[in-house]
């Protein structure tokens, strides 16, 4: 194939176009908001530099291997070369320059992402408390007194300020098309600004391994026009049932859950970012005890899959004893 330059060129072209068309569709490089956009830009910027470095090394390696492989008419063998200060300084300085060039936008973006996106910074952000519980997501809107499970509605073109925490294991809230992830940790609060510029449904998930139900700990993010969002808020406030602490405690038991909606939030009685023990105490109230998954009892036990009834009650978990 090396002899046939034309077919090689075509192959390279084909590979490159396949590669580039693939990149366009890839979630992380298909941003739908300013945060993910600045990250995608940074990624493309670094890919450019890195391809350059890869190219230089690959070409140099190929040339050297071809030219200095052992053969009959070998030329230029000089076994006693010790080194070259000039060359070594060059290939120390160039990487230093590259690192500096990469550092500047990196650090600017790091600082930028700590704040609301510049274009919409004048708007009041929507505050959402995102709490992970094995293996569900609970979203609270304290300003309007709404709580949802496993789905998230947001308005477009407004910064969303996530206050992240966890009831148990460490998780990471990640909505790739809106921006990068950040950890949810029990007993702590981290903050994350994201924003959607386009109406649509985006995939969100927990990116940090949390055990058995981790793969399914996902949620949909629905970005709505401000007017539609306001309508949803009003409707929820009037129609959705209230969340009581007894109901909420059922959510603390490890297991899965369907989408749920409530017209009050758990922040009235617990803030997991200051109370790391709440979930474990709730287990006791609920009569749940963790089991060795390899024991007979552990194998027989099925994790609850919670659903919300029409009257608003959470169904699917009674107590462990009933399950066995």
């Amino acid at each position: 194939m090396l002899k046939n330059g034309k077919s090689l060129k075509w192959l390279a072209f084909l590979a490159l176009s396949l590669f580039l068309s693939g990149c366009g569709n890839m979630t992380v490089l298909d941003p739908k908001g300013p945060v993910a956009e600045s990250q995608a830009w940074l990624i493309w910027f670094s890919i450019g530099f890195m391809l350059l470095i890869v190219l230089v090394v690959f070409i140099l390696l190929t040339v050297i291997l071809v030219k200095y492989r052992e053969r009959e008419d070998h030329k230029g063998y000089q076994p006693e070369i010790e080194g070259s200060h000039k060359l070594e300084i060059i290939w120390t300085i160039i990487p230093v320059i590259i690192v500096i060039i990469l550092s500047v936008p990196t650090i600017m973006t790091i600082f930028e992402l700590e704040e609301a996106p510049a274009a919409t910074a004048h708007k009041e952000p929507v505050v959402v408390h995102a709490t992970s519980v094995n293996w569900k997501w609970i979203f609270s809107y304290p300003e309007v007194g709404i709580e949802t499970v496993n789905y998230l509605n947001i308005p477009t073109d407004r910064p969303i300020l996530f206050k992240l925490t966890s009831a148990d294991s460490m998780a990471a809230l990640w909505i790739p098309q809106l921006g990068g992830q950040k950890y949810n940790m029990a007993g702590m609060e981290t903050q994350l600004y994201l924003q959607a510029n386009e109406v649509g449904t985006y995939a969100g998930r927990n990116a940090n391994y949390t055990g058995e139900g981790f793969s399914e700990q996902k949620f949909d993010v629905v970005a709505l026009e401000q007017g539609d969002f306001d309508a949803w808020v009003e409707e929820t406030q009037s129609d959705a049932p209230e969340l009581t602490q007894e109901e909420y405690d059922k959510l603390m038991v490890p297991g899965s859950s369907s989408e749920m909606t409530f017209s009050s939030t758990h922040l009235d009685w617990v803030d997991h970012s200051t109370d790391a023990e709440y979930a474990i105490n709730a287990w006791e109230r609920m009569g749940y005890e963790p089991l060795n998954p390899h024991s007979r009892a552990g194998k027989a036990y099925e994790m609850p899959a919670l659903t919300q009834s029409d009257s608003g009650e959470i169904e699917g978990f009674e107590s462990q004893a009933a399950n066995e």
């Binding site: 979630t27 050297i64 076994p79 690192v99 930028e112 990068g180 007993g187 702590m188 399914e216």
Partner: protein, 648 residues
């Protein structure tokens, strides 16, 4: 504790493993008994303090662990080959990726390299053995015991399932009940003792036992990297020891170092783990760099380009390796200043690493390059490692890392680094020093098949994973849906994994084939080497290594001797040689450690106490042991050397 929690039942894969373990154990006992090899095994191997034999045993077990970890990988790749696969359930998958990571790093990569160090370093610096031969044997047995304890978890009690990083609180009793996590803690703790001891041993050996005339700045590059690696081990491993002990206390005795309750700090574990864990990456990478340096110089027939810069680079890398741990959790929200600092330190590591890459390239420049199999691996290392390296720089950019973190982009990156550097180096070093260890080369033709198939499989397996990461596929999920759109790339990746599996079979076949058919070495200098290990008198060095330790007057001393026409084995008068005696104490001590460790895993404290008493009894016995070795007589040396010469 009931029986149903003790022996793992109800899984056909595990049942198969249990049966095959039983059959091979019976088979091994039968073979040893039938051929009357028990005494040989005890005298020549188990109690041996000969660094070469210990090294060979390390490598043997590392290859076994490569098989085990590889099977784990193939099972994972099978489960991920297509959407909605049900080959493994969540629990089983989680256990397998946890053991895969732990085994590949702790029980494969490290012991493989430590095995090569053991075989090569004393020979390379012209020493008769390591500084502390007894300790060397003890290190080996603690490693074996830790490895054994960790590995039995999947048939007895259940494997750990919190990931090889074992983040708290996921690894706590509340979220991870059962003995699995205890296996992780005690397996790593026991083998960690051995690693720490090896670090000290190698450091002292290199500092104190070099042949006359070998200055520090004349040491071969593998010796240099081993020295720096040993220093990293000595500085980093105590952190792991403490962190493991604290988590063990949390799980067994109800303390609250990292728990959710009573003010435990889960993130403290993540910090401690990576303060050890990042230097650990360099513990397995630096020796690899050393191995490539040896092989590239040998097969370019040229001295190393920029020796001083190479030494300063590894020193710089080792210092920086302690200053980058936060890049493993940029997403923890430590703040912009902290993330900026660790972004820069992480990117800075690429500078000395880049210097090394260019120095290797220029070592080949104006050389006479021959492509023997060790050289093929070393040449392949450069482009593959560069791909791993540049994606590492991309990951170092914290703001972008928020999108790569916990995804297959990261998975692909660290496999490109760890396989292209560490695993390629293990293969390269194994093949390169094989004639030194066994007296014959591995077959080159089969070796080339192995090389091409493995490297192809490796790239087919891991290159697509960069794109899976950018497409939003998180690591450690055991199932994905059709709508995710990850099928094609995952399938390609799985095909690549099986190609690597095929390559491994070729390697094993090569070992068998070469044992049967390879021509035996007669010179001791199989490849035209440059350093002292090739100067010993026979194909397999005698237990005293050198009849007379050569004096070193130049860098690449053996090359220098050959240039000047000096035969290091032409010795007028032999002198008696002092050598250490074999010992059974470390093996016995290891058995007690196993007992203690196993007891603690199941919280049978009486068993733990019995084990601990046994360990201390062994220490006391050793303290009153006044055997400080023996002399090899001149007649015996003459006899051995004559036989070696006749083999020519």
């Amino acid at each position: 504790m009931k029986w149903d929690e003790f022996i793992i039942t109800g899984d056909p894969l595990i049942l198969g493993a249990q049966i095959s373990i039983l059959i091979s154990a019976i088979g091994a006992v039968f073979v040893l008994t039938y051929f009357k090899k028990w005494k040989w095994l005890w005298d020549e191997w188990i109690t041996s303090v000969d660094h070469k034999k210990l090294g060979i045993m390390y490598i043997l077990i590392a290859i076994l662990m490569f098989f085990r970890g590889g099977i784990d990988a193939l099972m994972m790749r099978t489960q991920l080959a297509a959407p909605n696969m049900t080959f493994l359930d969540s629990l089983h998958y989680n256990e397998i990726f946890t053991t895969h990571g732990t085994i590949m790093i702790i029980f494969m990569a490290m012991p493989f390299l430590i095995g090569l160090m053991n075989v090569v370093i004393p020979l390379q610096i012209g020493a008769r053995d390591v500084a502390f031969p007894f300790l060397n044997n003890l290190s080996f047995w603690t490693f074996v015991i830790g490895m054994g304890l960790f590995n039995i978890s999947f048939i007895i009690g259940g494997s750990p399932s919190a990931g090889w990083t074992s983040y708290m609180p996921l690894a706590s009793n509340e979220l991870n009940p059962g003995p699995g996590q205890n296996y992780y803690l005690l397996g790593l703790q026991i083998s960690g003792i051995g690693t720490l001891a090896t670090g000290i041993n190698m450091m002292v050996t290199i500092f104190k036992m070099r042949a006359k005339g070998m200055k520090l700045m004349m040491m071969p590059m593998f010796t240099w990297t081993t020295l720096i690696t040993s220093m990293i081990i000595v500085l980093a491993f105590p952190v792991l020891t403490i962190a493991l002990a604290e988590m063990t206390f949390d799980r067994l005795f109800g303390t609250h170092f990292f728990n959710l309750t009573n003010g435990g700090m889960p993130m403290l574990w993540a910090n401690l783990f990576w303060i050890w864990g990042h230097p650990e990456v360099y513990i397995v990478a630096l020796p690899a760099f050393g191995i490539f340096s040896e092989i590239i110089t040998t097969f370019s027939k040229k001295r190393l380009f920029g020796y001083n810069a190479m030494v300063y680079s590894i020193v710089a890398i080792s210092v920086l390796s302690f200053l980058v741990w936060v890049h493993h959790f940029f997403t923890m929200g430590s703040g912009a200043v902290v993330n900026s600092f660790f972004s820069i330190t992480t990117m800075a590591i690429s500078i000395p690493t880049g210097v090394k890459i260019f120095n290797w390239l220029l070592t080949m420049h104006k050389g006479r390059i021959t492509f023997s199999t060790p050289m093929l691996w070393s040449v392949a290392f450069i482009p593959n490692f560069v791909i791993g390296g540049v994606t590492g720089v991309m990951l170092a950019m914290a703001a972008a890392d928020y999108q790569y973190h916990n995804t297959y982009f990261l998975v692909s990156h660290f496999h490109y680094v760890l396989i292209a550097a560490t695993v390629f180096a293990c293969f390269a070093g194994f093949i390169y020093w094989y004639p030194k260890m066994f007296g014959y080369k591995l077959n080159e033709r089969i070796g080339k098949w192995f090389f091409w198939i493995f490297v192809a499989g490796f790239n087919i397996c891991f290159f697509p994973q960069y794109f899976l990461g950018l497409d939003g596929m998180p690591r450690r999920i055991h199932i994905y849906g059709v709508e995710d759109g990850w099928f094609a790339l995952n399938f390609i990746s799985t095909v690549g994994a099986f190609i690597m599996g095929l390559a491994f079979i070729i390697l094993v076949y090569n070992i068998y084939y070469s044992f049967r058919y390879s021509p035996r070495e007669t010179t001791g200098d199989a490849w035209g080497g440059r350093t002292l290990e090739w100067a010993t008198s026979s194909a397999i060095p005698p237990h005293y290594n050198f009849a007379k330790v050569p004096e070193v007057t130049a860098m690449d001393p053996y090359w220098d001797m050959k240039e000047k026409g000096i035969d290091p084995n032409k010795i007028d008068k032999y002198e008696k040689i002092h050598m250490p005696s074999n010992t059974a104490v470390p093996f016995v001590m290891g058995c007690f450690m196993f007992l203690a460790g196993f007891g603690l895993v199941f919280e049978w404290f009486w068993m733990g106490i019995v084990g601990a008493i046994g360990i201390f009894a062994c220490m006391a016995y050793r303290s009153f042991d006044y055997n400080d070795g023996y002399y090899v007589s001149v007649e015996e040396i003459e006899e051995t050397e004559k036989r070696a010469r006749e083999a020519k």
